[in-house]
Subunit: 316 residues, 3 copies
């Protein structure tokens, strides 16, 4: 694997999931593979799980890790071509990416969308320019439209916890939030579920339809109760509107996941990428109950990242 | 040792001090002990000595270290139970602690008091919730009411520098400051001195009495000159009022430590946890003289942290 | 080599350049040299290249690295002697430097000039106080008046790329900028070029003369076109006025480096320390053409830093 920015970079999804599960059993089995190799982690936005789990994964593989909060420890990047840089941007992405490519063997990049211009965000301009100019493999730590390390960890978790002898039903359900959030996690989760051996349903209020290419193969069901029926996994997540781009359309009252709603499921396990707003997206009762597997899901971020880094190191 | 948050977590104080002194002679003697183990250092507040010395201690033990400025690189944590998170806090401490517990073997936490609500601060709510939810051992990097790594380094320093053949007299003396500072360092220092083989006196203006449980066994002397008589060690530190909680009661004129005041001591060594306000808490003359041992004291932070981490690693 | 703050710390410049070029061929040849040694990197100002390349260099030598953004993760330092610290500075440089000296074997420091008081900046007060009080070797990561790791990388790059069988002509040419920038990079570059086996010319508008001690041996030519004639290397850089200290004297129109201007050169390679303002200091056309060697120049920062750290480690 050269770059890792979406499920489309993965030759064999099931094999990658299995690799992560093998690594979970023996995290130090490949601790010589990364010797002398450097992973740079570039954050243009805050991070907790991705920051720590990816660092941990790289250390488990024997890599050196250099972390850079480019926005806080560095300066603002210019993205546009052919511009006269007489404003507030200090360095062009062309130079910044190429220079970091000189110092690292693999470069991880986190860059959120601005949620102001759909075309700009969905062009994945920053991620693509890093790929173009860094000259080394790029690992997405969440981009404008996808969060593929999260999605792999999600699929690893579903594979681990799936009821034996049946194709699991997985429901992605929209949840209320006070802020306008990116579509990256649900886009990416949908894209992976559509490639996985699961029965996949998405439910959300009208107006929150995701961009169609991510949900090809999924069932869209606007009635949350119907969607949840017999679910084995319920993935709770807020996102802002794609059509009315970046907007919060209503307060979403009634969409918070509660124990009451779970009754129609097949004793479903509840997932969330975290951070989660308790009492708003997901009830305190669920998060404090055995139905919630959000912590194990977060724990699997290490093994997902390690499987990806292993394949990237093997391709260097 | 499982958690390290106060002297009460230490089975044998003298043995821990000796362990630190042994480590100082051979810092790399246990460099395989931490192989494959990860120390997470979580800062909710700024740090220099604690940050660097704890990192160094862990590296000396062969551990991997991941540092996270949660306030700056992450987001605000919610502490309250059962709340609807529709405000500015982004993640609940329950999830944050549990997730960091997935990525680390030991978690260090720095969390200052707000100095607004005595009960809230003295409940050590944040520290205790990390202990409750992280699922892994917690190392205090200074909490609302204590700074146990500092106190151990202080006792190591006193043990090293004590005059031969006598029980040393140690005086903790309040000093002026322009800001309202926590009681964590003096609380903790008092608690440790009361467990150590020293003659321990605390002096401060009226109104600055520390919470009684920390000073049980100490002599309180409001007359600074009387307190200093024949002292072998003078520990200078400002703190805000406990009774009139978090307040600066007066400008403290006359309480700054000076060479003049040291004359009644037994050629006392002067200590301070640093950072120190020169010319306000402690005179420039003392800090620039051989009486001051503040730098060696800071240097001992490494060996104190290493002794603690060694015992924590041995209990994993 | 004890400290590394300028070319004057280097016993044999050509030998150091050769050492860097040898290290470039085999970066891990000395990976045991730094075992058990700690490099502290202290940033009082932002950094990308210096931060990552110096970290990488130290890791290649097997050192541990601790990075500290003192301004953001710590607090403001007091620099003045004998002051009463009742204001906003939290710790005196005397203690801060000495304490960091306790935790590290070599200390790197980045500290920019304020560009308000020429004498203050050119006294290199902060750097010199770190040297005086840290008690361990100091590595400049760019100080008020010099950037010696950059200059060494520049000379390494020129040595690598110089046309065979001729003494290369190197031209340092001033470029426009919207901000007032330090003289550190041009001072340092000039100082190194004057020690190197090159024909060295500096060109800039009147009023931008550098302090004479840095340019002793250089030809100053106010006519940019004349200066560029037959140049083998063109080093583009903005700086603020030294005479009218820290001021931007004009918009510098006409001084931006363009392909048109390069026509009189000997097919010159174009260099810049980065970050570069495209379309203002240097044209997009040049930066996107093979004439530009700015990325390789930045890449050489690793080997320059590694050669310096190697010599510093050998002197410990």
């Amino acid at each position: 694997m050269k770059n890792y920015t979406s499920v489309h970079d993965v030759a064999d999804v099931a094999a990658l999931v299995n690799e992560a599960l093998e690594i979970k059993k023996a995290p130090f089995a490949h601790k010589e593979l990364g010797a002398g190799k450097t992973l740079g982690l570039i954050f243009l936005n805050p991070s907790l799980r991705t920051r720590l789990s990816t660092q941990k994964a790289a250390l488990n593989l024997g890599m050196n890790v250099m972390v850079m909060n480019l926005d806080k420890e560095g300066w603002a990047l210019e993205i546009q071509e052919g511009v006269v840089m007489d404003g507030t941007t200090v360095e062009h992405i062309k130079e910044a990416a190429a220079v970091m490519g000189q110092y690292c063997d693999i470069l991880g990049l986190r860059s959120f969308p601005k949620l102001q211009d759909k075309e700009e965000d969905y062009s994945e301009d920053i991620l693509n320019k890093f790929i173009k100019y860094a000259g080394i493999p790029i690992l997405s730590l969440e981009s404008a439209t996808r969060h593929p390390l999260q999605s792999l960890a999600d699929l690893v978790t579903i594979t681990e916890k799936a009821p034996a002898g049946k194709r699991p039903k997985v429901v992605l359900t929209w949840a209320p939030h006070v802020k306008a959030l990116p579509q990256a996690v649900p886009n990416s989760f949908a894209e992976w579920m559509c490639k996985a051996d699961v029965d996949f349903v998405i439910t959300h209020p009208e107006g929150y339809e995701l961009e169609g290419s991510f949900t090809d193969g999924a069932t869209i069901e606007y009635d949350q109760d119907k969607a949840l029926a017999e679910a084995d996994f319920v993935y709770v997540k807020n996102w802002s509107s794609f059509q009315d781009y970046g907007k919060v359309l209503s307060d979403g009252k009634g969409w918070m996941m509660t124990p009451e709603k779970l009754k129609v499921t097949n004793d479903a396990k509840v997932m969330h990428c975290l951070p989660v707003r308790r009492g708003l997206e997901l009830s305190n009762e669920i998060l404090d109950s055995p139905s919630s597997i959000v912590i194990e899901e977060a724990g699997n971020r290490v093994y997902a990242a390690q499987a990806v880094l292993k394949q990237m190191l093997e391709s260097l």
